[in-house]
Symmetry: none
Subunit: 215 residues, 2 copies
């Protein structure tokens, strides 16, 4: 292996344990070299300029400047930067946001070591890498994502969605809107179906994320 094959890597994660873990996994392969670590988005941006790593492995949820913003700043300044997101969130929304911000790969933390190596090599070659069992999830939600899930709802559906998310009793919704509680129940089903959710937990989360209600 020639020196040019060496892939210089920076690790960004607020958890020292995770940084150590990735470092350990990478040490198994001689062609990877960790040249820098950062525990925050701010530091990541600084360190990037100092070390100009080939690839940066970055977490999304960090205190202060989050990973997404850090990605945005780094890519803005260094458009050829290769950033691999290593997140614990198995959430398509997170992935698409990260990729939209300029990341070149997305991996969940419980992935195997081989997958990490695989992802790194993809990025090194200039490709984009996304977790295999994740692509379909993203593909599914991608359609809905661009549309903005709540936008699919009809006026009535949206109204009922809002009331449900606020915790309003179905019967109260019915009498407020002067419709049968049976109709409310039916709407509830169609709303969940349209939003692709199975339970009221996801319903609330979606409402909160959309800023419709606050926690």
């Amino acid at each position: 292996m020639s020196a040019s094959d060496l892939i210089r890597i920076m690790l960004v994660d607020d958890h020292a344990v995770v940084r150590a873990g990735v470092r350990r996994l990478l040490e198994q392969e001689a062609r990877f070299l960790v040249v820098a670590e950062a525990e925050s988005g701010e530091r990541a941006y600084q360190q990037f300029g100092e070390h100009l790593p080939d690839i940066t492995i970055i977490d999304l949820s960090m205190p202060g400047m989050g990973g997404i913003e850090a990605i945005g700043r780094i890519v803005a300044r260094y458009p050829t930067a290769k950033l691999l997101v290593l997140s614990m969130h198995e959430n398509a929304a997170f992935a698409s946001q990260a990729l939209k911000a300029g990341a070149k790969g997305y991996l969940v933390k419980n992935s195997l070591a081989e997958e990490l190596v695989n992802a790194l090599e993809c990025l090194a070659k200039g490709q984009t890498y996304i977790n295999a069992n994740f692509t379909k999830k993203i593909a599914q939600q991608f359609l809905n994502d661009e549309i903005n899930p709540l936008q699919q709802l009809s006026t009535r559906e949206f109204e009922i969605f809002r009331l449900l998310a606020e915790g309003t009793d179905s019967n109260l919704i019915a009498s407020s809107l002067n419709i049968s509680s049976k109709t409310v129940a039916n709407y509830q089903t169609s709303i969940k179906q349209k939003l692709g959710i199975n339970n009221s937990v996801e319903l609330v989360r979606l409402a909160i994320r959309s800023g419709l209600i606050d926690s």
Copy 2:
């Protein structure tokens, strides 16, 4: 150093990266030896019996049987087991529930390596260890205990509350905890009653407000 000083450790975390990270940190110190790893609560319980580690380092949020449940089971069978929680949740509710379930220490994942070593030595000596910058947080929230509704919940109730708030299907909860789905339903009722809420929407919002889950 004599052989008897060797501290045999088991790691339990669903993220391979985290396990590798802890392992790496522990390898710096010759007196620690990782004798087993597990990626789930179920496996942890099995492995514990096989290896009988001096100390078990365990994560709380794992799919299937959660960490709290695993702690409970291990402590039930092996009352002298020393379990150190290594969680990413900087949340007093989690900590107190974990300790109530029988854990001997609580550490957040972004702690420094020295703190981990420190904690391990405390546990090895039979002491209890809690993160320094965490004790005051716990102390703070301890005062609000009367106010903090989640504190009213029993271990089991809390566990089920968490799973419900995460949107886990009742039947899945039942099978994860090896109890009847009827029991889960009954718990659900008592949880709502204790927390003074009427529907699952409020349940989720409470969980989010408490930092138990994020939106």
